[in-house]
């Protein structure tokens, strides 16, 4: 019964989120401008062409009616057809998903492993040179804007050294109906720079969290008891400290992974990586409302799902959560 309550509460939240988000997205795109000007050739089209195209897309209707039509279509499982590509909007989003998933998954795996490692390293040695280095470097890595970091990676990794390609996905392999880059050597080479661009700020973020947690936990009584009992440093670190600092890290990893799936648009644009973020930003620029709405809905669902997974992980990692629930 309690579980049912939790789940229904979650679903209700997700529903509210979707409604609010769709309204904001709808009104936002509408106030930016008229997408017809991106579809017809404004330099040759007659006012009549523009008027007919506007009518066909239903853009001559008042906004509330357009929204009702959108909701009606949604009830039948359709987000409509992309104004620009003339393909079903949600299919278009799904077709970009594999590119984004492999990019985000690699980036978050690297970030979680390297960040936690660095954080533990620094946190167990507060005040030493290693600790100070980690603190300083992570501040820089966090403050650097994403587009600058990406440009620098292109400059050093591609233009100056020629080690890695400057953009694109490289060759892909078809698996489960999706194209994957990481299964080919060429695709892996294309992955390196954008993965680094996404991972570096997250390594820094996670390292700082892990360091702060470690410093705090190392001072806790139970660590001293462990030491008094004669447990090895290594055992204390991995069996006792790590689980204790992992809650905020898991939270951040979940959130950042969701962010990468949806909003890696800067990195995806600079590396011409055809993912969901690039589709979203391109669609916003072209005012391709069906695709924007489909992408935003996908993003919202992803975030709700990820948060649920993070909550579940809490219970796995921390016995106290299990007891209180």
């Amino acid at each position: 019964m309690a579980l049912f309550k939790v789940i229904s509460g979650r679903l209700y939240q997700a529903f509210l989120l979707l409604v609010v988000m769709s309204l904001i997205g709808f009104v936002g795109i509408h106030s930016v401008g008229n997408p017809v000007y991106n579809i017809v050739n404004i330099e040759t089209a007659t006012p009549d062409d523009i008027r007919r195209a506007t009518e066909l897309l239903g853009l001559d209707q008042p906004l509330w009616r357009q929204y009702l039509v959108f909701v009606q279509n949604l009830a039948t499982g359709s987000f409509g057809t992309s104004y620009i590509y003339h393909l079903p909007a949600f299919e278009l989003v799904l077709s970009k998903l594999s590119a984004t998933i492999e990019l985000a998954a690699f980036a978050i795996l690297i970030a979680a492993a390297a960040g936690t490692g660095l954080g533990l390293l620094a946190g167990t040695r507060p005040g030493t040179l290693v600790d100070r280095m980690v603190v300083i470097v992570t501040v820089y890595a966090l403050s650097v804007p994403s587009f600058w970091l990406s440009m620098m990676l292109v400059l050093f990794g591609a233009v100056m050294t020629g080690w890695f390609p400057s953009g694109g996905r490289g060759s892909t392999v078809d698996l489960f109906g999706w194209e994957w880059s990481f299964l080919t050597a060429d695709g892996l080479k294309h992955l390196v720079l954008p993965v680094l661009a996404l991972a570096i700020p997250n390594i820094a973020l996670i390292a700082r969290l892990a360091r702060a947690g470690t410093v705090e936990v190392q001072r806790a009584d139970f660590v001293r008891f462990c030491l008094a009992k004669g447990l090895s440093d290594r055992h204390i670190l991995f069996r006792h400290t790590l689980p204790n600092i992992s809650l905020p890290i898991v939270t951040i990893v979940g959130l950042q992974f969701g962010g990468m799936l949806a909003f890696a648009m800067v990195v995806e644009s600079i590396f011409a990586w055809p993912g969901v973020g690039k589709l979203l930003i391109d669609s916003i620029q072209l005012l391709d409302r069906p695709v924007v709405m489909a992408t935003l809905t996908f993003v919202a669902i992803t975030f709700v799902a990820l948060n649920a997974i993070v909550d579940l992980l809490y219970a796995v990692l921390d016995p106290r959560v299990r007891i209180s629930a």
């Binding site: 062409d49 003339h86 953009g167 996905r169």
Partner: protein, 530 residues
């Protein structure tokens, strides 16, 4: 003996054939592959969906037109070898023989009929841009497989030019092909030099050579377009050798590209960017006197327009903002292209004269204007607004430059919210712009589609109609030049510049022939000898 000799020679021949075959099969190892980073996103595979270069440039590898427009904008035979105007309203096109579609079927006059019918009667908006080109056609028929006869509504001397926009599709067995079916790429057959291989929307277009092409074997065995919207990413891809050609390189990156060993080509675009005025209304939005009080629309006085035009420093825009990759303008197309006037040349800024003229018109202290424009749509657009503001400040006109995104700009311009703004016009011929920007707007004929300021000059309208009714050739070009001379004396717009298309290419490409329409195709690239 005789028999064995024959046998021997036969086996020799077979051996020779085998050697040739082997040698032949060795060639693909050094096959010519071309990789292009393009800004054109190729929205759909339906060749009749949108007239934007975004679509037509890439699809011109697969589909062909009856008539082709060369890099001087002159018409050349495409799928039609010749065309004649039999009577005032009747055209006859002779079609090229021995042309085959990619599925092996022969190209006939019936395919032309099908194509025109598909555009005229099957496609619905928003995919209706091409109807502008078929509007003048009353009927189309195919008396024999090699001849197409087109009847027009009234005299249409530029019908071949209109047809130079239309890709010929193959009449399939199941009625008109839908855009959805074409996007699924199950029946994408044209007559073009390259065959369709794969398309991922917004990502890539892959093509292979059409070995049976009527114009001889195309130069490249494989062509891959990568859609890269970010200019910096296109430059990086070219600089690192990830691609062989990158289109639309920002002028400021030309040096970088050259330093990395790539070559750069540019051509003045067959288009104009200009300032346009609200002329229809008694007051112009955003125009006030210096204290902010409303004033009568100053732009309705030709002297004011002339003064403002004289006070624009075009050399700053061309040299500084566009880094030399722009041409100062005095008319719609760059001087030298068909239909342009040699009398009109861009003048340097003359501030004193302009100020005196403005005083003459009753504005010795100038006035205040909001100058609107799109930001990031055309090369140099946002910076140009700033440069004009500085220039006009010198004759006492206080300018507030406002750049917004292109769709917002269009929405507001269409709603009549602007007093003076930055616009653009392009077309397959100069009279397209003369008609769209300066002719009195008329919803029925579609004239004046870009004449948002309601400029109206009946003498000009009459002259233009007469010039456009003239048969293609020197007489028509001369008439259009005279019309341009006549109308520009009235200063209906302020011509600013023709920006240049800038393309870069790497070592695998020996030469790239630029097209003023800004097309990006493999056909324009010659492979470098190995």
């Amino acid at each position: 003996m005789k028999f064995s000799a024959r046998l021997q020679s036969a086996s020799l021949r077979a051996a020779a054939a085998a050697v040739i075959l082997l040698a032949g099969s060795a060639i693909p190892a050094t096959a010519q592959q071309l990789r292009i980073a393009t800004s054109y996103k190729l929205m759909t595979l339906d060749p009749h969906f949108s007239t934007l270069n975004e679509n037509t440039s890439l699809l011109s590898h697969i589909f062909e037109r009856l008539v082709y427009q060369d890099e001087k904008l002159n018409l050349q035979p495409g799928l039609a070898t010749s065309w004649t105007r039999v009577s005032d309203t009747r055209w006859e096109f002779k079609l090229r023989q021995n042309v085959r579609f990619h599925d092996g079927s022969a190209f006939t006059a019936d395919d032309v009929v099908y194509t025109i019918e598909r555009i005229r009667s099957f496609l619905k908006p928003p995919s209706g841009g091409f109807q502008a080109y078929t509007k003048a056609i009353a009927s189309v028929s195919a008396p024999d497989p090699a001849t197409v006869v087109i009847e027009t509504e009234g005299s249409q001397p530029t019908l071949p030019l209109s047809l130079s926009a239309i890709f010929i599709m193959h009449r399939g067995s199941e009625g008109f092909a839908t855009t959805e079916a074409l996007n699924a790429a199950t029946s994408l057959v044209g007559t073009g030099p390259y065959r369709f291989k794969a398309w991922r929307s917004g990502e890539t277009l892959e093509l292979t050579r059409n070995d049976d092409y009527w114009g001889g074997r195309p130069s490249w065995s494989e062509v891959t377009f990568r859609i890269v919207e970010s200019p910096a990413a296109r430059v990086a891809a070219l600089a690192t050798g990830d691609v062989d050609i990158a289109d639309f390189i920002p002028a400021r990156d030309v040096e970088t590209v050259r330093q990395r060993g790539a070559k750069v080509e540019s051509v003045p675009a067959a288009r104009l960017n200009f300032l346009q005025f609200e002329l229809g209304k008694e007051t112009a939005p955003g125009v006030t006197d210096k204290s902010g009080k409303a004033i009568a629309n100053p732009f309705r006085d030709a002297r004011v327009r002339k003064a403002l035009s004289m006070a624009v420093d075009r050399s700053v825009i061309v040299d500084k903002i566009l880094s030399g990759y722009g041409t100062a303008a005095a008319q719609f197309f760059p001087n030298g292209l068909a239909g342009t006037s040699s009398n009109l040349t861009p003048q340097p800024a003359r501030y004193d004269e302009a100020k005196a003229l403005l005083a003459d018109a009753g504005f010795p202290d100038g006035f205040k204007v909001v100058l609107n424009g799109p930001a990031g749509r055309y090369p140099g657009d946002g910076e140009t607004l700033q440069a004009v503001a500085q220039s006009w400040a010198r004759i006492g006109v206080a300018v507030q430059p406002v750049g917004v995104s292109f769709s917002v700009f269009n929405t507001k311009r269409g709603a009549g919210e602007y007093g003076v703004w930055y616009g653009g016009c392009s077309g397959e011929a100069v009279d397209v712009c003369l008609e769209a920007v300066l002719k009195t707007p008329d919803a029925a004929t579609g004239a004046g589609a870009l004449n948002y300021g309601q400029y109206s000059n009946s003498a000009y309208d009459g002259m233009l109609e007469k010039a456009r009714a003239t048969d293609a050739g020197p007489a028509r070009d001369k008439a259009l030049a005279e019309v341009t001379d006549f109308v520009m004396r009235d200063e209906p717009i302020i011509p600013l510049y023709h920006f240049h298309h800038i393309f870069g290419y790497g070592p695998h490409v020996a030469a790239y022939v630029m097209h003023p329409r800004g097309w990006t195709t493999a056909m324009q690239a010659t492979p470098a000898a190995n």
